[in-house]
């Protein structure tokens, strides 16, 4: 019996790690004032087909089909992205709110040809509907860093600006999203194209390509680019303000103007989070998406942490093993009652009804309930009351479950 190609099982140890990361993410989001949502697994395909949503390349990899009531000919799709459904949810369910801070933990599905990578990927994302630059961007970057650092990671923040990138490409006649995507997919292509089309920008482009680590870099860049491309001024100023505020709050970053691949809906600053060479998350501003989907004109920005990648980088949390409760012949009623007592006292208790469950690591404490009444705690003696047993377990320091 095999599982579907490209699908991944999450085993008990994976789920322990998943919940650890998810719990931390949820806790921080709630602390920062975000509210949790979950969008359906099925959405109409047309939500994702308009220009300004997903790229054609991404659309060619969605899982789409006719639903049981799909006789109208319109297809549905297994959620290929979470930001667009979140924007849809905001429009259809929360439209009366002026703004919304939302977060979610859910998976997205897209076809991956080799079948070696998972086609279902888990994301922990946040969206600020109504958030304006520079504060919203800085809040999101700070929140993402805080979470990743709390997981013991050392995230590096890279910033780009989709508006700036598009403006630069429009200057050289590139407007089609597929072409933007192609040029930004491979390091160097974008710069070659720009240099070929506008040789007079040669030195400025070399300087731009260097990247930077401060608002000063963007101002320096302005001094060489703006004489040739005065239209870039508002975008550069917005970008500088965000970089300036990030510097002021003590958040390091690098500016990479080639950044911006992925989604058509990004309009402003985009950010990516790296741990070493692994990209563990990303996001950006998408001011046109809500109006494009039929909502009011509302700026918005968000990011997602890629849970599968973060899980692979974080240490497995230690968890307490349950106390195994076994019983001699005729003593099962008292075993059930002891297990209940242990749970009430904050222990996890597992009735060994079919033998021990097994699993990685050393076994937990084991209690045999015998006539008498006597409780035999393996390796640690015999007790005549549940209270004594609990005390011994506590003193032994094992097995207490602390849900928080």
């Amino acid at each position: 019996m095999d599982k579907c190609r490209g699908m991944r099982d999450l085993l008990p140890q994976d789920m322990r790690q998943f919940r650890y990361v998810e719990d931390l993410f949820r806790e921080r989001c709630l602390q920062w004032g975000y509210q949790e949502i979950r969008t359906p697994l099925l959405e109409y395909l047309h939500l994702f087909t308009a220009a300004g949503t997903l790229t054609p390349d991404m659309l060619n990899r969605v899982y789409s089909f006719l639903d049981w009531d799909g006789w109208s000919g319109e297809r549905v799709v297994l959620r290929p992205d979470s930001t667009i459904p979140a924007a849809r949810l905001f429009i259809t369910e929360l439209a009366q709110r002026p703004t919304a801070r939302l977060f979610y933990v859910q998976s997205v599905l897209s076809f991956e040809a080799t079948g070696t990578e998972s086609r279902e990927r888990w994301q922990a994302g946040v969206e600020v509907m109504g958030g304006r630059p520079p504060q919203a961007e800085v809040e999101l970057v700070a929140l993402a860093r805080e979470m990743l650092e709390a997981l013991g990671l050392k995230p590096e923040v890279r910033l780009g600006h989709m508006g700036l990138l598009r403006s630069l490409l429009e200057e050289v006649g590139v407007k089609e999203e597929e072409e933007v995507d192609r040029l930004t997919a491979q390091e160097g292509l974008l710069w070659e194209r720009l240099r070929d089309s506008r040789p007079e920008l040669g030195e400025a482009l070399s300087l731009a390509r260097l990247g930077g680590r401060s608002p000063g870099f963007l101002e320096n860049l302005g001094s060489v680019l703006l004489p040739h491309l005065p239209g870039l001024r508002p975008t550069l100023e917005e970008f500088s303000a965000i970089a300036g505020l990030l510097t002021s709050v003590g958040c390091p970053y690098t500016v990479d103007l080639g950044l911006g691949r992925g989604f058509e809906y990004y309009t402003g600053v985009v950010f990516q989070f790296y741990c070493g060479e692994v990209r563990v998350g990303g996001g950006g501003r998408y001011d046109n998406l809500i109006p494009l989907l039929g909502g009011k004109a509302l700026p918005a920005t968000g990011f997602a942490i890629y849970l599968d990648r973060v899980m692979a980088l974080t240490a497995t949390p230690t968890t307490s093993l349950p106390v195994q409760v076994q019983a001699a012949e005729g003593c099962w009623p008292r075993a059930f009652s002891l297990a209940g007592e242990l749970r009430a006292q904050g222990f996890a208790a597992e009735l060994a009804t079919g033998g021990p469950a097994g699993g990685p690591g050393p076994p937990g404490a084991s209690v045999m309930v015998e006539d008498g009444p006597i409780f035999v705690l393996s390796g640690r003696g015999r007790f005549t009351s549940a209270a004594e047993l609990v005390r011994a377990l506590r003193e032994g320091g094992d097995a207490e479950v602390s849900p928080a």
Partner: protein, 459 residues
């Protein structure tokens, strides 16, 4: 053993001539031949004839090492399953043309740019639904619906579809059919294709060299243009819109309508839009297979189709508004489950037993009734099965290319002639009139009157 799949129909004469030149000396591969297994004068070659559209699927799943078909069908398969293990070996030079995304010359769309700004969902219809869907996504159409069709594509636009996928040797030929080419989807030409695994693992050089030695040949004569459509007939929402069947059901339908006092001008002679001769009643001639979906989505108010196709539709879309309104009595067939005479079972339960004992694995079910077959396999717990959609001539699939057929038959003689046996009768089907629960209120009275008139003619 080298297995070669050859097309029936459009490409058949030119393919036969090509293979003749290559020295393969095929017998029983002329148009109209009832044999599916022509013999080839080429050592070690086994040849079988399929509907052209089935060939890329048969080669991709590895039933055949080589196949000849139009590149349009290869592209259609790849649009849905880009990873299909198919390789194009050589274009053979005949059957040339383009597949177009086209609109009617009466449509408001003159160019691709016009389509993008359209607010309401665009209806795309045709025999290439995956190429159509892919084109719609590439064109960034904001909202679209795709209706797969079995045929009669040109009668759909502009009223029943906004855009169609249509094959033509030239744009002019398309225009002669009343269509305006908006976008070429792919170049089409007859092509020798190979299964990728066969190509990588199997020595086929002898066969391929002999086929490649023949110079590509152009088309002997251009395809005759289809009969121009009469644009005078009305077909809009104010009139009751009736779908009449082409194919086998046409003749009995003509007789039946005559009994009901409806002399449909041009129906028998092949017009796509015959004249009903009744004010307020318009008709188009389409495939019975396509009717339930077309009624469901509101393109037609009434249709004469078979209960088999209605049932297949309702199995796929249980909430569809289509319902049977009148049984007509003609066109009787049984829909049956069929296995090869060699398989030692006489019922679905015994077939299940064979599968459970591991004496047969990975059941392959070939059928034109994809949803009926799917339900049959589920209801009988036939384990791990695959449905192979076919476009006709399904009886040729047993025993080597499928294990079970869900097929229609009248007498069972064709099945018996191919050494096949029926293990279950799923249901009996006759022609019927179908309609939609969601019919426009202003048309309901007129529809009921027509139904009453038709009911009087049921013999």
């Amino acid at each position: 053993m080298l297995k070669l799949a050859l097309p029936k129909g459009r490409l058949q004469p030119a393919t036969g001539a090509y293979l003749e030149k290559a020295g393969w000396g095929l017998t029983d591969y002329e148009l109209g031949s009832r044999s599916y297994r022509p013999t080839a004068n080429f050592p070690g070659a086994e040849v079988k004839v399929f509907q052209e559209k089935d060939i890329p699927v048969q080669v991709a799943i590895g039933n055949y090492d080589l196949g000849v078909c139009g590149t349009d069908w290869v592209e259609e398969l790849l649009a849905r399953y880009p990873q299909s293990p198919l390789v194009k070996v050589k274009e053979l030079g005949y059957g040339q043309g383009h597949l177009y995304l086209a609109s009617s010359r009466l449509s408001p769309w003159g160019s691709v740019a016009d389509l993008r700004g359209n607010g309401t969902p665009l209806r795309l219809a045709g025999e290439y639904p995956h190429l159509a869907g892919r084109a719609a996504m590439r064109l960034r159409l904001k909202r679209f619906r795709v209706y797969p069709l079995w045929g009669a594509v040109e009668v759909y636009p502009p009223e029943s579809a906004d855009l169609v996928t249509a094959h033509a040797a030239s744009p002019t030929q398309l225009e002669e059919r009343g269509l305006v080419p908006l976008l070429p989807l792919c170049l089409t030409t007859a092509c020798l294709i190979a299964n990728q695994d066969s190509w990588q693992d199997k020595g086929m050089a002898g066969a391929i060299s002999s086929l490649l030695a023949t110079p590509p040949q152009g088309d002997a004569a251009p395809e005759p243009p289809a009969v121009s459509l009469d644009w005078l007939s009305r077909f809009d929402g104010d009139w009751l819109r009736l779908a009449l069947p082409d194919g086998h059901q046409k003749e009995p339908a003509v007789d039946f309508l005559r009994r009901a006092g409806l002399e449909v001008v041009g129906y028998a002679s092949g017009k796509g839009r015959p004249d009903m001769g009744v004010e307020g009643l318009a008709a188009k001639v389409i495939r019975p297979q396509d009717m339930p979906l077309q009624v469901a989505c509101g393109n037609f108010d009434l249709a004469i189709t078979g209960q088999d196709w209605l049932r297949d539709h309702l199995y796929q879309f249980p909430s569809s508004p289509v319902e049977p309104l009148l049984e007509l009595g003609f066109g009787w067939v049984r829909v049956v489950a069929v296995v090869s005479g060699q398989v030692p079972v006489s019922s679905p339960a015994e077939l299940r037993g064979l599968l459970e004992k591991g004496q047969m694995t990975g059941l392959r079910v070939a059928t034109e009734y994809v949803n009926i077959a799917d339900r049959f396999a589920r209801d009988h717990h036939l384990g791990r099965y695959r449905i192979i959609p076919t476009w006709g001539a399904t009886e040729a699939f047993l025993p080597e290319d499928a294990d079970l057929l869900i097929e229609n038959t009248q007498t069972g003689q064709t099945l018996a002639r191919h050494g096949l046996k029926i293990i279950d009768v799923l249901f009996e089907s006759t022609a019927c009139v179908i309609g939609s629960r969601d019919i426009a209120p202003q048309l309901r009275e007129q529809r009921d009157a027509l139904l009453q008139r038709l009911a009087g003619a049921v013999g």
